[in-house]
Point group: C2
Chain length 693, copies 2
């Protein structure tokens, strides 16, 4: 039972006791700002201005008008053209563009997303799916916002399944035009930013039909409005009020015999010539489709980044408040009330999420590097693109869900004050809610990742027969799941479960890596084993077999995302030289790794990777070592996020709470000093005389 006391003492020591300041926040800030620090800081500077701040409770119409005005100001400030061609006034800096853009969430997520609609979707579609002629014809007025535009892909009846959309673009050789049609209600374009009010043109995704042949989904530049009025054949509706992002005018569009010039086809991956002959540089319709859609990955990349920024914001506010707010006197003591962050439960609620947010920040930077390499042309092979897409499809679900959970936990950790709109959490949650759905529903993205992992797994087995799979699964001798974008799963997994009695042997980074890696490998191998006969089954049975493994598939992809986040944290940690920062970030990385392992402890136990003793030691290690060690550095770790007061804008993060608590404590101290304090009835009953006597 000495162990118990030792635990308690450790926990006590980590609390309000003043502790050596190990963290150099300024140095750590530069690590977090990373390669595109200039773009981020440029946005942060702009975002100090009130004109870029969200006004909660603004009516929908006013909010929409305000955000449109903000976009015009961003054009003037040169904040949104970094990705476009130099010849048109851009900087051809795709990474810097995303970095600067995702910071906009600090001002108003509606501003961030409407910026994304105009330049990241509408503009990027013209840039990536169009060729020189479209760039010259359309990009200047897109860049200047002279033409606010719509990215018309999603349909009411087809959200994630873009290949199945119903809108058609039929070539009319007589007039050398395409005719755009919406054949039924489910094919209306829906949830489109800029569609309800502002959009003057749209990039419309439609099935391209030439002479009775459907060449699949292509993108077309379609003028839709003249000022406030729809052009002939175009119609639509306002999506109305949404759970958040009400500064964006989402709406629906439909088309009836709308004619556009043949050259309004964005023709990089498929063209129709003046003779009405279709051609494409990509022979396979399937690969062509995925290539086109793949060029639009930047939406996912930037949501990953914006979710990370929003998490940093929420945690900074909650941890500042938790460092000042006192509640309940310590048991047995007549002393001051306890600061919230000294409570173990409060540490459990906030510190693992702080660790996760650091991981997200580092993983996002890797994603941004990969994105930049592809879109700058530095490393732009098919494999690079595929890896980028898989990486984005892995990280986006992780970070968008994590951000929502973090914001919610931060809200609750601040109690009633957290529910006041002025303290930011509720509006951030409302706005970021849909980040889990748009740019690819999280569950669907994870399923895509899982299929990629299965494919990679299958490739490694030259003969994917039952014996090979069984041998693989039993040995867990991992090879690289993928060569570049995906994390190499190298080491042979050690048997952690069999020997050690304490957390000792699993404490190191290698052990964390192996445990996380092994889980991905083993899950994928098991699913591959389950599915191995699918090819020889009738289609409906094969579909049922796949469906019976769907939940496990998605869980495996999520495990892979967790591994990627952990690896990114560890990679970055390895480059840090400041000893204090290195020490504290090592604890933080361990907290991240251990909470992941703790979350999946049942898996490690069932699969014999951890013994029961070792497994329970992991929870103890989090509670008794990592949380107390990190608690004194929590504020400094949020200081490194470098939010100015104009970014936080939360009254509870301004020090007002500390002032109030100090005033109250001073009042009681003065009462005790001058003998005016009322005596407690309880004390009186015990025979203590009133203080005034």
């Amino acid at each position: 039972m000495t162990d118990t006391i030792e635990r308690a003492t450790t926990a006590g020591a980590g609390s309000s006791a003043s502790s050596e300041q190990l963290v150099d926040s300024a140095a750590l800030a530069e690590v977090l700002f990373a390669r595109w620090a200039d773009a981020r800081k440029h946005s942060r500077e702009l975002l100090k201005r009130e004109e870029f701040h969200q006004i909660p409770g603004l009516g929908m119409a006013e909010h929409r008008a305000r955000v449109l005005g903000q976009l015009r100001r961003l054009v003037e400030e040169g904040a949104v053209h970094r990705a476009f061609p130099k010849g048109l006034g851009g900087e051809e800096d795709p990474g810097g563009n995303i970095a600067g853009f995702e910071e906009l969430v600090i001002g108003d997520p509606s501003m961030q997303i409407k910026t994304g609609v105009q330049w990241g979707l509408f503009g990027a579609a013209v840039l990536h799916l169009g060729t020189q002629r479209a760039h010259e014809q359309f990009l200047p007025s897109i860049m200047s916002l002279a033409i606010p535009g719509v990215f018309a892909m999603t349909e009411t009846g087809h959200g994630s399944d873009v290949a199945g959309i119903g809108t058609t673009a039929t070539f009319d050789p007589g007039s050398d035009e395409f005719v755009i049609d919406t054949p039924f209600r489910a094919a209306w374009k829906d949830y489109l930013g800029n569609a309800a009010d502002d959009g003057q043109a749209a990039v419309v995704f439609a099935q391209l039909i030439v002479d009775g042949v459907n060449h699949g989904v292509h993108a077309f530049y379609v003028p839709i409005r003249d000022g406030k009025h729809f052009l002939p054949g175009v119609g639509g509706e306002d999506d109305g009020l949404k759970g958040g992002l009400n500064g964006i005018d989402n709406g629906r569009l439909h088309f009836t015999g709308v004619r556009i010039p043949r050259t309004n086809l964005l023709n990089r991956y498929g063209d129709v010539d003046e003779n009405g002959v279709y051609s494409s540089p990509i022979a396979s319709p399937g690969r062509r489709f995925f290539t086109m859609v793949g060029t639009l990955v930047q939406g996912r990349v930037s949501l990953d980044g914006a979710s990370t920024v929003a998490s940093k914001l929420a945690l900074t506010i909650a941890i500042r408040y938790a460092s000042e707010r006192r509640q309940f006197a310590a048991a047995g003591g007549g002393g001051d009330e306890v600061v919230l962050l000294d409570y173990q439960r409060h540490q459990r609620r906030l510190l693992p999420r702080l660790a996760t947010t650091y991981a997200m920040s580092f993983a996002h930077e890797q994603l941004l590097e990969k994105f930049h390499a592809v879109f700058s042309g530095e490393h732009d092979s098919d494999e690079d693109r595929q890896d980028l897409e898989t990486l984005a499809a892995s990280l986006k679900p992780f970070s968008t869900w994590s951000a929502l959970e973090t914001i919610q936990e931060a809200r609750e950790a601040c109690g009633g004050a957290g529910f006041l709109t002025e303290n930011r959490f509720t509006q951030l949650h409302a706005d970021l809610d849909i980040y889990t759905t748009f740019e690819g529903d999280n569950n669907i993205l994870l399923q895509l990742v899982a299929k990629r992992l299965l494919t990679d797994y299958g490739r490694r087995l030259v003969k994917p027969d039952a014996a090979a799979i069984a041998a693989y699964a039993s040995q867990q001798a991992g090879q690289a799941v993928s060569r570049s974008g995906l994390r190499a799963l190298g080491q042979r997994i050690a048997d952690f479960g069999s020997t050690a009695r304490s957390v000792g042997n699993v404490r190191g980074a290698d052990a964390q890596r192996q445990l996380l890696t092994d889980r991905v490998e083993t899950m994928i191998a098991a699913i591959a084993g389950n599915l191995k006969n699918a090819g020889s089954l009738p289609a409906s049975d094969a579909a049922a077999l796949f469906n019976a493994n769907q939940n496990e598939l998605i869980e495996a992809a999520y495990a892979h995302a967790e591994l990627l986040e952990w690896e990114a944290f560890s990679d970055r940690l390895a480059t840090i030289e400041h000893p204090g920062n290195k020490q504290v970030l090592t604890w933080l990385r361990d907290l991240f790794g251990f909470t992941l392992i703790e979350k999946h402890l049942a898996w490690y136990l069932i699969n014999g990777r951890l013994s029961a003793t070792r497994a329970s030691a992991i929870t103890d290690y989090i509670d008794d070592r990592l949380l107390p060690r990190l608690r004194p550095h929590a504020l400094a770790l949020t200081d490194a996020f470098q939010f100015a007061p104009e970014h936080l804008r939360a009254p509870i993060a301004t020090g007002a709470e500390r002032e109030r608590q100090d005033e109250a404590r001073a009042y009681y101290a003065a009462q005790r000093a001058n003998g005016t304090a009322a005596v407690e009835e309880k004390a009186l009953a015990k025979g203590v005389a009133p203080a005034s006597s």
Copy 2:
């Protein structure tokens, strides 16, 4: 590997294949409506009227005015007086009152909560803390809403720690008055409904001071406004916009030398006579405080019920949509797209939450019975009250958190459509967010429950020494944690881990009960062991020791809440006679129990309660048996919630989606039939002639 195929077939069979209709929704509805069906149906009838419906996007001022108007209509309809004395026009039916009240969440959670402020907090405080004189003087105008009132307990500096509030009520013998004062900013009353605009009076909680002695927190009836204007000495602020519930005018109040007659003290549990002498029927100041606060338990009871109603609403909308929405064609088939609810992942997302909501409904009914027994006087001992408080403090955290998670999952499961305010989820989430905080923060409530469990545990050990505890913990020979309100933990726990190979032996209800019960018992015993030396430690060390166990304590209390929910489900199930309903509810109860066990699988493995084989069989049993069995009955199980279209008010739950999907399928079928369908490029490349040829 036959097992795999069998699994797949089972999953397939459970999907869109038409299945025998086992559920009698109408009969099941009566089970759910339960004892106070009349009150619930009365509310449901009223809530069909548009005047009681929330209008999303209404400005704060208009929303506040609308909700105040709704309260006036509820008075006219006789919907809010059931709890009050018959002599004053009430019905003295506390259970029916809560039942009818919590349904109001269907119309607008702001209306529900503002009703709760007026009659459940302000009115109930006068009723329960006041005596005949206060009832006669104040209740009539409270009941009629002539005096909208404020329940002024919480302070900016003291949320959950009510005993520590700073507001004082000092007796002035010269004038026979109390003088109410707010000594510093942190003692301002905060987050008070009706405080910003409507409140004409308040029940103010303050430290009662007579002749230099503080008798602790008491409640006082204090007029605060004359129409729109504060009375002298009273001041306040509007809390402004909140994350939700903006139909309620929350605000702050402070008092400077505000004088009220001595008789405005609500004097049931403490009085000051005309000679300025304090007396109380409860000698212990601590017990007196908890008794007073305990009379206000109905807020927690009703939040538990309202969260359950809101969960039913969200699941009905999401499951209806999931039963109509099609997305992605089945692999390999050229056939129709698949209905969302046929996807395993979608079942995993929604069906366990449906099971949880049924558990919440049955557990809430038990809570309501207990509440009614106490407040009707049928069973009103100290022990009954303590059990009621513990039960409420257990269920409220479970159901408020569960409702938020369910609403969020339902939102995400409906994709972009789920984000449109018209489909209800986002506003329900925004409004119910604070249910986890007010009427007692969930984490604090669970800590109180845990302390009660520890106390009960200690009482059972006459000599709570180390040997006794160790013997107890190792034997897990459970006795009743409590005799009445808490669930008796009776059976000796079988060793599930040692023998069986399949899920067979843990499938029965007894096994589920034992596993869930054992976990609570063992966790409490372990914590008691950790804390056993606390009494002999210096106060600060004892506090640190307690803090080092805080997270585990709260987890243990949550495990206890899970057990209570499961027991309530099983109790109610035992009374059901309709064979189809009994069969389907048995699967649903099993799904609830198995998902609880699955969630805590690591604990069962670490503690040797389940073998690895058995543990992994639990997940398989959920995926391969329970979900496919329940899927065909999901709609019927939500039909039993009996929401009328005017209650749901969600366009995606009206059948519109089915119409759209049918229209689209008919369009393509017609194209294929009349030969106008474009041929796929892919098919063409394989040499298939266009359909038109």
